[in-house]
Amino acid sequence: MTQEIDTDTPVAEIQDVPRAPASIKKSGVRWGEFLIKGWLGLCAFVSIVTTAAIVILLLSETLNFFDTVSPGEFFLGTTWTPLFEPSSYGVLPLVWGTMIVTIGAAIIAIPTGLASAIYLSEYASDEVRRIIKPVLELLAGIPTVVYGYFALTFVTPLLRSVIPDIQVFNALSAAIVVGIMILPMIATLSDNALRAVPESLRQGAYALGATSYEVTTRVVVPAGLSGVMASFLLAISRAIGETMAVTLAAGQTPNMSLSMFESIQTMTAYIVQVSLGDTPTGGIAYQTLFAVATLLFVITLVINIVSQVILNRFREVYE
């Protein structure tokens, strides 16, 4: 069966195309587009250059450092006196200082942050959310030097009135204040993670006769666990990199004592100490700056990568 050819419209009556058709062929390069795309790409490249610069800088100066000081002494030594005689370059006291402040902060911030997140996503009404969310953002936006001030003028005197033995500069004060600082981060990120859990999961559990406590702890939090754990890791990484509050609150004494009532020094506080002094370029003291900074950078990088992996890997599974 042939198609019926349309013979109704005589060929001569076909409308002229309104204007002379332009060719659809390319007429030269669009220079404007090319230049703009070039500029945008260049800007994007800046971020790559930044990372490369950080890595190259830290690595090269650290290698210089390891020409003088053996990695063994650096990573395993327990005395850190690079600026005095006799100089000793064991970095463990700094790592220890960072660790006890961070762990202390985590003990404070993780349970409370998670509880706040649970409250915000499972229990709070919309009006309450509208008040608390901005409050959390404000708390998160407070500069660290303000927390340092808070530690020195409020927390430490408070602690001293309760625990008379505690020093003016102590790790506990720093841990408390850093904990308060990272709390909003955990609360906000975990809240986002919990809210992303589909409502159908909750309703299924409620339909089986579970209480809100059971639904929250046995269904919602496990479902959003990847996001919640990622938030913990990011907060810990932030605590590790925290500088001003610990410098002001915890002091400048690197030591490895187990007591949180004494002054310690974190990696970040050491870096600040060196740069506030007059360090000649190239000297061994200058190089310790980079060695410690590299260690700090690597630790936070590893934690950040792990948290990203957790977010990406386990998010698929639960969806």
Binding site: G32, E33, K37, W39, L40, G41, C43, A44, V46, S47, I48, T50, E61, T112, A115, S116, Y119, L120, Y123, A124, I131, I132, V135, L136, E137, L138, L139, G141, I142, P143, T144, V145, V146, Y149, F150, T153, I180, P184, A187, T211, Y213, E214, T216, S237, G241, E242, T243, M244, L248, T268, V272, S275, L276, T281, F290, L296, F297, T300, N304, I305
Partner: protein, 292 residues
């Protein structure tokens, strides 16, 4: 053996009680966070309010607390933020546009994306060291405003990029399709439709990033912002101080009066941040309502 109804009933009551206690616990914890914030602000205000006067705003720092002021720090901060804005906004927004509109989903785009996510988590003090080695020493820009501004720009660039990308992603794809179907190029579409539509979201992100830059101390210490500056900077190559540095300097002194001065400085700093955050939230709410 199944539970008797009596046992089930008691069990249920216990479970309900547990649920109630848990709910109240979570609420209490959250609200105590709010109380804590109030406490902190109250404390700072009490300490510092007495020192807040015109003389405070108009004087340079001094060894004598009665004569000390934050003029140089305030001016330094204003200079710094202006320079940071001029540098970081174009670069950050351009990067976000590149990643969202021009780059596709290829390998390079993925690498840049992961890279930016990592840079966002690098401690600010590492940026300070970078600034020290590259801007102050290598490019010999000395301990100047421009060194500080470049360092801070690198620090907040990931924040701007991530926030801008989120804003650009919310522009409905239909608008782009419509523009392309009319014979528009990618840049024509981006400039005429995508950017204007995502502008409020980008602005919010930029303001929040800049408010982060205002409060950062560690990188400025690293590049050598001075702590006793009795003059006003007049150009980008001048040395300078900034609000958080001045506050830090006063807090680390033993005398009580300097602590109170620090509190006054903190009030100013927090006031500035509050205004900026409120503006960002206002912009965000206005656009959310418009889209509804």
């Amino acid at each position: 053996m199944p539970l008797t109804t009596e046992q089930e009933h008691r069990n249920l009551a216990k479970r309900h009680r547990k649920a109630r206690i848990f709910a109240r616990f979570c609420a209490a914890v959250t609200w105590s966070g709010v109380v804590l914030l109030g406490l902190l602000l109250y404390q700072v205000s009490i300490d510092g309010f007495g020192w807040l006067d015109w003389q405070f705003l108009d004087s340079f720092p001094s060894r004598f607390p009665e004569r000390a002021g934050i003029k140089s720090a305030l001016v330094g901060t204003v200079w710094l933020i202006a320079l940071v804005a001029v540098i970081s906004i174009p670069v950050g927004v351009s990067t976000a546009l590149y990643l969202e509109e021009f780059a596709g989903r290829g390998r390079i785009a993925k690498i840049i994306e992961v890279n930016i996510a990592n840079l966002a988590g690098v401690p600010s003090i590492v940026y300070g060291i970078l600034g020290l080695a590259i801007f102050v020493r290598y490019f010999a820009l000395e301990r100047s405003l421009i060194s500080g501004a470049l360092t801070m720009s690198l620090l907040i660039l990931p924040v701007i990029i991530i926030a801008s990308r989120e804003a650009i992603k919310t522009v409905p794809q239909g608008i782009r399709s419509a523009a392309y179907s009319l014979g528009a190029t990618k840049w024509q579409t981006t400039w005429a439709h995508v950017l204007p539509a995502s502008f409020p979201g980008i602005m919010t992100g930029v303001i929040l990033a800049l408010s982060r830059a205002i409060g950062e101390t560690a990188p400025l210490i690293m590049i050598g912002a001075l702590t006793f500056v009795a003059f006003l900077p007049e150009g980008p190559m001048d040395s300078f101080t900034a609000l958080p540095i001045q506050i830090y300097n006063w807090v680390s002194r033993p005398q009580e009066e300097f602590h109170e001065l620090a509190a006054a400085g903190i009030i100013i700093l927090l006031a500035v941040l509050l205004i900026m955050n409120a503006t960002a939230i206002y912009i965000r709410n206005k656009t959310e309502r418009r889209l509804k």
